[in-house]
Amino acid sequence: MAEIIQEDKHKGGKKKPKKHSTAIDMTPMVDLMCLLITFFMLTTAFSKPKVMEIVLPEKIKKNEKVEPPKIADSRTLNIIVGPNDKVYWYPGKPDPAALVPLQETNFSATGIRQVLLDRNRALFKKIEQFQQDVISGKLNIKQDSLQSAIRQLKKDDDTGPIVLIKFYKKARYKNFVDIIDEMSIVGIARYIVTDINWIEEGMVEHALGMPATSSPTAKK
C-alpha cells in the first residue's frame, strides 16, 4: 500500500527509476571457481601413460620335449644386463673351456646402442629409408600399414643379429625396460629374453671382481 501511495506522490513529475548498480559481487563465485579449478587440475591425469609391448616365448611344459632352435653362432649376440646400469655383451656361444671376455658398456647413446647398430646397420638403414620415403611422399601408404610393412621388413631380414638378452640377478627393472627399448630403437628383428646360465653368471661376477658363486650344481 505504501508504495502505491508513494507512486501517487510522484505522479505528474518526471518518473525517476531507482538506479541499481549493474555490478554484482562476484567474490563468492570466484572463490568457488578457484576451488573447483584446483580440484580438477589436481585430479586430472593429463597424458596417458604409454605402454611398450613385449612377447615372451611360451613356456615349455615339463613333460614336453622341444628341440632348441638352431641358430648360427656367428649371428648370435649375448647381452647380459648387470647391476648399476652396466651391460655386458659377447658374441657367440658361452664355452666354459675358452671363455670369451665380456665387453662392458652402458645404456648411453654411445654404449650398447652402437654395438647393436654396428650389427644391425643394414636393416636399420632399410627401415629408416623406408620411413623417409613415406614421409616425403615417395611411397604412398597409410600410417597403419606402415607398421605392418616395417614388421615385414624385419621378418625378411636375415643379416641382423639374433640377440639373447639375459639378466644378472642384481639387474633392475629399469634396465629391463631400457634394453628392450634399445631393441626397438635400433630395429632389431630377432631378440629374446632368456634365463642366464651359470657360465654367464660366473663371467659377470668375474667382470665385477666378485668371487664366483655359481657352479653347475648350484643352479636350480
Binding site: 555490478a23 559481487d25 562476484m26 567474490t27 563465485m29 570466484v30 571457481m33 578457484c34 573447483l36 579449478i37 580438477f40 587440475m41 585430479t43 586430472t44 591425469a45 593429463f46 597424458s47 596417458k48 601413460p49 604409454k50 605402454v51 611398450m52 609391448e53 613385449i54 612377447v55 615372451l56 616365448p57 611360451e58 613356456k59 644386463v81 647413446a109 654411445t110 646402442r113 652402437q114 647398430l117 646397420r121 636399420f124 639378466f167 644378472y168 640377478k169 642384481k170 639387474a171 633392475r172 627393472y173 629399469k174 634396465n175 629391463f176 625396460v177 631400457d178 628392450i180 627399448d181 626397438s184 630403437i185 635400433v186
Partner: protein, 213 residues
C-alpha cells in the same frame, strides 16, 4: 593550508574478466578430466620410446612397487554392464571359502583402485572406513609358491574375461628376480604378451659411422 582531498576509491574491483577466464578454465578441465585412480604406492615407471597408448578397457594391471609389494587390478572400462570385477572376487572367495556379501561385491566393483591385499584380509579391507585404514591391509599380494594368490587372480580374471590383456607397471628400481617371478606367474597362466607401462622419452640415434663423415 587547505587539506588535500584524497580521492575516494571504491575497493571493488571489476571481476568480470577474471570470472570469464575462470569459467573457461573450469569448463576445459571438467571436460578433459579423467579421474586419476588412487594409487596405493608410488611407482616411478621407467622411460621408453614407445608411443602406444594404454588401453582403456579389458586390462589387468600388475603393479610392482619399489618396496617389492605387488598389487593387482582388473579394469574393464568404466561403463561396463558385464560386472567382471565382482565375478572375479566371487571366484576368488569360493577358492578360499570366503563368502562376500552383495554389498561387498558392489563396493569392490565401484572402487577400482589397485589392491595388494591378502585374500584373507579382504573382508576387513572392504569394510575399512577410510584410505588410511585401508592402507594397513596393503601388504602386497602373496606370490610365493606356497600361497600364490597372484596366480589365482590372474587365472580368474582370464576365466571371467578372456579378452583381458596384461599390463605391468613396475618401479624402475625393482630388482629383476621379482619381475621375473611376476612374468613367470603370468606365463604359467598362458599370458605371453605383456604391455609394460612406461613414460615417453625422446631418443636420437647417432650413428658413429655417419658422424665421422
Amino acid at each position: 593550508m587547505p587539506k588535500i582531498k584524497i580521492p575516494h576509491k571504491s575497493p571493488h574491483v571489476d571481476m568480470t574478466p577474471m570470472v570469464d577466464l575462470f569459467s573457461l578454465l573450469l569448463t576445459f578441465f571438467m571436460l578433459t578430466a579423467t579421474m586419476r585412480p588412487a594409487e596405493p604406492a608410488k611407482v616411478d615407471v621407467p622411460f621408453s620410446v614407445s608411443e602406444k597408448k594404454t588401453p582403456d578397457a579389458n586390462i589387468m594391471t600388475v603393479t610392482i612397487a619399489s618396496d617389492n609389494r605387488v598389487f593387482f587390478n582388473v579394469d574393464n572400462g568404466p561403463d561396463t554392464i558385464l560386472h567382471f570385477r565382482p565375478k572375479i572376487l566371487e571366484e576368488m572367495g569360493k577358492r578360499y571359502n570366503i563368502v562376500f556379501t552383495p554389498e561387498e561385491l558392489r563396493y569392490f566393483e565401484k572402487n577400482s583402485a589397485p589392491f595388494g591385499v591378502n585374500i584373507k584380509d579382504f573382508k576387513a579391507y572392504l569394510a575399512a572406513k577410510d584410505s588410511k585404514e585401508r592402507d594397513r591391509f596393503q601388504k602386497g599380494i602373496p606370490i610365493d609358491s606356497t600361497d600364490n594368490q597372484m596366480a589365482l587372480w590372474v587365472l580368474f580374471s582370464r576365466q571371467v574375461n578372456p579378452t583381458v590383456s596384461a599390463l605391468i607397471k613396475g618401479d624402475g628400481s625393482v630388482e629383476y628376480p621379482l619381475v621375473k617371478k611376476v612374468l613367470d606367474i603370468l606365463q604359467d597362466k598362458n599370458v605371453n604378451r605383456f604391455s609394460l607401462i612406461t613414460s615417453l622419452e625422446k631418443v636420437e640415434v647417432v650413428d658413429a659411422k655417419d658422424a665421422k663423415k
